[in-house]
Symmetry: C2
Amino acid sequence: MKPVDLDAYLAQRRSEVDRELRRILIAREGRPTALTRAMQYAVLGAGKRIRPILAMAAAEAVGGGRLRRRALRPGCAVEMIHAYSLAHDDLPAMDDDDLRRGKPSLHKKFDEATAILAGDALLTDAFEVLVPRGSQGPDDTARSLRVVTEIAQGAGSTGMVAGQVADMASEGMKRPTRRTVDAIHARKTGALIRASVRAGAIVGGADSGELRALTRFAESFGLAFQIVDDLLDETADVAILGKAAGGDRARGKATYPAILGLEGARAAAEKERKTALRALARFGQRSEPLGAILDRVFARAS
Amino acid sequence: MKPVDLDAYLAQRRSEVDRELRRILIAREGRPTALTRAMQYAVLGAGKRIRPILAMAAAEAVGGGRLRRRALRPGCAVEMIHAYSLAHDDLPAMDDDDLRRGKPSLHKKFDEATAILAGDALLTDAFEVLVPRGSQGPDDTARSLRVVTEIAQGAGSTGMVAGQVADMASEGMKRPTRRTVDAIHARKTGALIRASVRAGAIVGGADSGELRALTRFAESFGLAFQIVDDLLDETADVAILGKAAGGDRARGKATYPAILGLEGARAAAEKERKTALRALARFGQRSEPLGAILDRVFARAS
């Protein structure tokens, strides 16, 4: 079999995800129009859909391509949670960002109350989306219920929200250690990526060994993703401003280049990449999409 | 059998609920201490626990007293969602309330960012609480998954959040109709009460006729509850201020006394009470606690 054409693969998956998200966020009886518009604005449009694509690719690694559809709605639920977290993070009381992906952030486009409520609605509705409609066999029902737990834990008070709280607490910290920064990102961005991959693996029917391997992949992927993101911020700022004062860093937030230097951060990302790749070995060709997505993360940084 | 001693009943149920909520919100590995404190502040302490008590009483109406324990954690999940909604409603960008139940509201006690994040965490963790730990038989697993859907729908973009958006939109509306006010409250307070009762009924093993009857009970109960709340606001203000300018009404919000007058509002509440009582008829003595809770709502208003 020829290697995955990743551009075509990502474009195809992205369009499946976007189609489903549009279907979920369509005007709906009983939902105020203003709320629907705000939810659509927060979710549709830009966005790489990396989390739902990972969920589908994880299901595929376990059970082959035809199982990826089972991970579509759980993946969309995670994307809705990701979008809510960005909307709330941008609020004046939090990061106070007027722009998100080059467009006005949700509270700038609408108002603060709408941004708070649309975020709340996206988070809540995500759990409705997680539950398959129609009846399922007992095994699939049990898997769906496990996925609810995975996503709630990944997004909740010991997952993503914990990371956000820890990140705010680290602002202005004089010398955050590598351990502190790891702990923040493992939860702030890592926990939801981990939950996406695990959700995909679970609906794909992973046994406990497969689930452990994909969890290792997800944890290293998430960390590499964050380090590369920090590196891109840093080098973009150097290119644009001629100095190392990135958005997060300017705010005094803990970034990998800040604690490890550029070379150290690159080496740390490379180490995670290798760990992630090793975790895929047992899945053979079925995990090619996961491997290719990992490579793509690194292609952004080079 | 002698009639339910409602005071003892409510005190006993409330203490079961409070014990479980404290257990859920105890300091936990991986959850920042500041977040745990804010979540505890938002949930523990005051609060009548009416929603979890309704969930347990609904399970009892269907399956008898020993089934009420099955509704305890779903009920606690609903209480966490109720607490998050109060925390977000009190924010400066929303109702801007400095006090909640006579104490500083969450953002006054901590800060706005913490109130937003603690609310997000309570909402997310509620879905973790909904899923029973340990293994269940296939019927119970299917019921747990149905409960996830019920709660997500009751709290989400066509339920509680829709009601909040509609309520904000109604502010300053010149002459809201009865229909508008019903539509707001059916979602803002009614949807989550309905979801509590239905969740209890489902885990109690209700058949479709029983579920329909308890849904009717819940809808009328929720509406009566809101009308009585509006009446109490109104008469308390009359007593304290010597004029009819309650909190919600001062803000120009749609209340029942404002559109129906005091007598009209009392009659509307009484009508809902009768509908709710009729819906309980088929359950006989097992629904006595539900009937007694309904009576208690009215005792507050007289």
